[in-house]
């Protein structure tokens, strides 16, 4: 298997969304994914105004 095939094989569905064939933006899926990760890991009770903090960390 050559390097290109390995890369394609390693891509998942979200990465295909992230690099659309016709160009477009990859910022939105990445932002959503980071938001999802921070919501998964960070305890919202230790951050004052968690929503505002998320918006700051993952700006639109």
């Amino acid at each position: 298997m050559d390097r290109s095939s390995e890369l394609v094989e390693s891509l998942n569905e979200e990465q295909f969304v992230r690099v659309p064939a016709g160009g477009g933006t990859e910022v939105e899926p990445a932002r959503r994914f980071k938001t999802k990760l921070l919501e998964k890991y960070v305890d919202e009770t230790v951050i004052e105004d968690f929503s505002a903090w998320l918006a700051w960390k993952c700006p639109v």
Partner: protein
């Protein structure tokens, strides 16, 4: 196990293999770019410094004491960050990592104590090392993704530091090496495990669509700046001694090596 690993990419890839994982091509490319930028702890100058430190009993003891305090400081930072996390596998891993760092702190202190009778130095005030981490915790903004990126760079730096010490001790202090070797290799093996889990998260997040490459590059760059400053300070220490001993030196080769180290390090810093 042979710890000699040439590049950051080789090192991180080997830790992935240990875990039965395969890193993405994007992640490996990002590591190659960091390697190409000349990461300081993997630079030959770092090995030269380690040889010089190991050959100087006072600096050797002081370095290991400082490593011990630095490991303690890191454990406190890891505990503080873990306290901001939900109970996930990542939190469990960070808490276990903190416990490892506390153990390393005791191991470094024991290594320094074993060598201390042969060094003409008193206790050092290493409170400033703890202060650095205290300031980090005070200003930590809660972004665990960026924190994990910093962790990878820090652990990689530790790996290369320790590897250079093992090689230097084995060649310069064979009597001490037998005991120190086992201890240092245990710490190095732990660092490899820490690199493995942290890099695994970064690769997973990159595959998921989050471009962590700028954050990772910044982390390695920041650690690079600190490391070169440390190299320059160590080199200046040797340079000062060279100036003091120059008139009646009986060790021309040692002086030559030290001045060469200082010149390269200071040029790099500038």
């Amino acid at each position: 196990m042979d710890f000699h690993v040439g590049t950051i990419g080789d090192l991180i890839n080997s830790t992935a293999c240990d875990r039965g994982a395969r890193l993405s091509g994007e992640f490996l490319d990002a590591l190659s770019a960091i390697d190409a930028s000349g990461f300081s702890p993997a630079h030959p100058i770092r090995s030269a410094i380690a040889v010089a430190v190991v050959g100087d009993p006072e600096l050797f003891v002081r370095s290991f004491r400082r490593h011990g305090v630095a490991e303690l400081a890191t454990s406190q930072t890891l505990d503080a960050v873990a306290a901001t996390l939900k109970p996930t596998e990542l939190k469990v891993a960070i808490l276990a990592h903190a416990e490892d760092e506390r153990r390393h702190s005791r191991m470094f202190a024991a290594l320094a104590n074993r060598a201390a009778p042969f060094a003409a130095c008193g206790d050092d005030d290493n409170e400033w090392v703890l202060d650095i981490d205290r300031r980090f915790v005070e200003t930590y903004n809660g972004d665990v993704i960026e924190f994990v990126s910093d962790l990878v760079a820090g652990e990689v730096r530790s790996f290369f530091y320790l590897q250079s010490y093992v090689e230097a001790i084995e060649s310069a202090r064979p009597a001490y090496a037998a005991k120190a070797d086992t201890v240092l290799r245990q710490i190095i093996e732990d660092e490899r495990r820490h690199i493995g889990y942290t890099a695994g998260y970064l690769d997973e997040w990159l595959r998921g669509g989050l471009d962590i490459r700028p954050s990772m590059a910044a982390s390695f760059r920041n650690f690079d700046v600190v490391t070169w400053a440390d190299v320059a300070a160590t080199a200046r220490h040797f340079m000062d001694r060279f100036e003091h001993r120059a008139s009646g030196s009986t060790n021309a080769a040692w002086c030559s090596d030290s001045s060469r180290i200082a010149a390269v390090a200071i040029a790099k810093e500038g």
